[in-house]
């Protein structure tokens, strides 16, 4: 009895101690958890960030006096050795323009999810962050992690209109249309290739050696004869290297429009105008592809470990014992790959379909402004500069001219011995690629080709539609688990579709597939109706 009562007392003591310490720290907690991120209120931000003094009135015109501010930019990549050098160079240009400094803060792929989620959850101060439709863009926007950029009634007004005119002028409108959620944009897409096209890249030197004529290869069925020869005559080679995400069933190959997040079932076909959403595994196209893949695997064309392979197709080609891989194509993809793998002149590409544009293509690489930003207007100004100012953009992406790269002529550049000290490989995430120079090993008119490629792209009927799944989280989780269980092994031909597909379909149904598709269709129909 005594023990229980003293226990109770001790517990009470504990609670008192806890609440006292909470109250003492409640101020700080409240500041970051409960307070809205208006700049003036966050003047006493306690967290480790590069914010300097609080910003000026956010609706100030750029011409008015601006207080100094440091914009923190987070993108995916490794910390570069010469980061400080580059920052200094950028700030020399940035300060006179908008009285701001840039803090470059890359986070690597591995730690990204953890780090970023914690940063967002704790509303740590940062301004610009990379996001993509496949990297929780929709869910994070729904949770208020990113600021709306073109909401006239939003707290900061229509940032794009006020400070992002450069973006609006230069960015193909399909980008913004494609990445909007219910008409509101929460991030600015990178200006680069917009359309997606699928095809193969193969070793042309080996094809020549074996006397294979590739000129009539136009579909995946045509590959049978080719791969057969390769397998017979060069048993040391892997004829076709697959890994998860890079198979015949990839979006860019099979032309699926996943209507936003690809981990939610229910797709449309990009090359048709049908607006009826179906489960991917019910489509005839899918069944054909899977069957053929399985045949190829059984015939020994595909690497047996495809389902668990982690080596990228690039690394596989680099190793020298792979004949062909599927790739998402753009103009000059083969030479780009050849450079990266040291197989210059030995790779060629063949497209298997026409370029198309869907939401996932438009929203595949974007920069958002965090809700925890101390000065969203300034952040938008920086974004605008990244889309319009060649010098600043190239500094950020490639480093200092003459140090990290040398100009060959015009817009062609070549590497220097210091290229390794600042090499972000992040051009596709930062602003506008059309401002970038071209490496001397690439085609000099690369960007013209891109523009042509983009304009050729046929837009999917659902461009701009992003499915809002917040009411179906349980079904989403359940369906994703089922998809994770079956997709990769089916896509790589590692299991027999005849026995497995019915199980897959069955499990999906049990996981709530029909509910999701019904809701998706409903939202899509509403979206399409509003378009008219």
């Amino acid at each position: 009895m005594k023990a229980i009562r003293t226990s109770t007392l001790l517990t009470l003591m504990l609670i008192v101690v806890l609440s006292l310490s909470l109250a003492g720290c409640g101020g700080n907690n409240g500041n970051n958890e409960g307070a809205s991120p208006a700049p003036s209120e966050n003047a006493t931000a306690t967290n480790a960030a590069a914010t300097d003094e609080p910003a000026a009135d956010p609706t100030a015109e750029p011409e008015k006096k601006l207080d100094p501010y440091t914009v923190k930019l987070i993108y995916v990549g490794a910390v570069q050795k010469d980061e400080q050098v580059v920052e200094d160079a950028i700030n020399k240009l940035l300060e006179p323009k908008i009285n701001a400094k840039l803090d470059i803060a890359p986070i690597d792929w591995g730690p990204w999810d953890n780090d970023v989620n914690l940063k967002i959850a704790s509303q740590e101060k940062f301004d610009i962050i990379f996001t993509a439709q496949w990297k929780n863009y929709v869910t994070n926007s729904a949770k208020g992690a990113y600021l709306p950029l073109n909401d006239d009634n939003g707290k900061y007004g229509n940032l794009l209109n006020e400070y992002g005119q450069g973006i609006l002028k230069n960015l193909d409108p399909q980008f913004l249309k494609g990445s909007a959620i219910n008409g509101v944009n929460y991030a600015v897409p990178t200006n680069k290739e917009l359309a997606a096209q699928g095809g193969i890249v193969y070793r042309s030197d080996i094809a020549d050696e074996l006397g294979i004529d590739m000129s009539n290869v136009k579909t995946i069925q045509d590959l049978d004869a080719v791969l057969k020869v390769v397998k017979e005559k060069r048993p040391d080679l892997t004829p076709l290297y697959f890994k998860q995400g890079e198979t015949f069933n990839s979006q860019y190959m099979a032309q699926y429009d996943t209507l936003g997040d690809a981990s939610i079932p229910g797709v449309l076909l990009k090359d048709s105008s049908d607006t009826k959403i179906q489960s991917m595994i019910e489509l005839d196209r899918y069944k054909e592809i899977i069957k053929l893949t399985r045949e190829y695997m059984k015939k020994g064309y595909i690497n047996k470990d495809a389902a668990v392979a982690t080596n990228s197709t690039q690394d596989a080609m680099k190793a020298g014992n792979v004949f062909m891989t599927v790739q998402s194509l753009k103009p000059g993809k083969d030479s780009e790959l050849a450079n990266a793998t040291g197989l210059v002149g030995k790779l060629k590409q063949i497209a298997f379909n026409e370029p198309t544009i869907s939401t996932s293509d438009a929203a595949g690489s974007m920069l958002a402004i965090s809700a925890s930003s101390g000065d969203p207007a300034r952040a938008m100004m920086v974004l605008d500069l990244l889309h319009t100012d060649k010098e600043i953009n190239n500094l950020l992406v490639f480093g200092v001219k003459g140090v990290h790269y040398d100009v060959v002529s015009g817009d062609t550049i070549k590497a220097t011995e210091k290229t390794g000290d600042y090499n972000t490989a992040a051009a596709w995430m930062l602003g506008s690629q059309f401002l970038n120079p071209v490496w001397e090993s690439e085609a000099p008119d690369k960007w013209e080709q891109f523009k042509a490629f983009n304009s050729k792209g046929k837009a999917s009927v659902a461009l701009g539609f992003n499915f809002d799944a917040s009411s179906m989280k349980t079904e989403m989780a359940a369906c994703k688990a089922v998809m994770d269980e079956y997709d990769i092994s089916l896509d790589t031909g590692s299991v027999d579709p005849d026995t497995v597909l019915t199980k897959y379909a069955d499990k999906l149904k049990k996981a709530g597939l029909d509910k999701i598709i019904a809701e998706k269709q409903k939202q899509l129909d509403a979206f399409l109706a509003a378009q008219k």
């Binding site: 023990a3 226990s7 001790l10 517990t11 504990l14 720290c25 700080n28 907690n29 970051n32 306690t46 967290n47 480790a48 490794a78 910390v79 980061e83 803060a105 986070i107 690597d108 792929w109 591995g110 730690p111 953890n114 989620n117 914690l118 959850a121 704790s122 740590e124 993509a132 496949w134 990297k135 997606a196 998860q244 995400g245 890079e246 990839s250 979006q251 860019y252 997040d261 690809a262 982690t310 080596n311 990228s312 197709t313 690039q314 690394d315 596989a316 190793a319 020298g320 014992n321 790739q327 998402s328 753009k330 993809k333 780009e336 595949g364 490989a425 596709w428 994770d484 997709d487 990769i488």
Partner: protein, 321 residues
Amino acid sequence: MLSQTETAIGPSGRTGKRAKRQRQPNEISNISNLLINIFFWIYTAICVVPLILVIIVSFSDEQSVVQHGYSFFPNKWDISSYEFLLKDYWQIIDAAAVSLFVTVVGTILSLVIMAMYAYPISRGDFPHRNFFSFFMFFTLLFNGGLVPWYLAYTQMMHLKDTLWILIMPLLVSAFFVIILRTFFANTIPPALVESAKIDGAPEFRIFVQIILPLSLPVLATVGLFQTLAYWNDWYLSLIFISPEGHVNLQYLMYKTMLNVQFLTASPQAMAALAAQGVEINLPTETVRMAMAVIGIGPIVFVYSFFQKYFIKGLTVGAVKG
């Protein structure tokens, strides 16, 4: 079988290299000993051989690994994976220094703090011991989740990017405290404590002069485990240290492995990345193995070095009156 009447020198002293041992009265038979030894030789091989493989692969040529998989006899040997990793040796030295400091300070501090907690709750006469046992133990079961824990250390305590943050979360492990308590309660004869108290010795003195010396086995064991916990930890560096900050060695090595994990985690992200035409540059197979070797190399050395003292500590405790 060695008969007990055969002349032999006892186990406590040997003359000559192969003096035949007389079988002690309570020892197991030769056959049992032989069987046990054989079994363990096999088991040891199973444990050691994979490690050897890791080392060999780290010294192999990348091409042969990609083409033929892991092998004990690679086509070519080369040290380029180590060259690649050690290119940036300043970073590694920095990280190693962090690891060393954190491990040494952390282990010593945690032993002290945990022993000081475990002893009172092991004393049968301490009326509040149940409450405090529960207080300690409850933390093993319930945890508020990553985000609140992160907020407590960053928002409340402002410890982000400090050395201390790499030490504090691991200082108190309920698991070890309970083990310590069990040992204190079961191997210290209560009579010893009683007589000391009768002699008027203060509690703390009893703790330091009587309890601790008698607990060397368990302290050595827990100390070893804590050393491992600190050395092997990469999670704290991941969560609390920004990319430009001072991380520890294990995380430095593991960082690029995390990229690999990212790849296997989300097929949809991979597909999307592929559609973008982005290639993530993964460390090659040999570099990954080299990372593993650098990560565990030091600790294996330390462990084998301290093995001597460790076992001594264990056996000292056994010799009791």
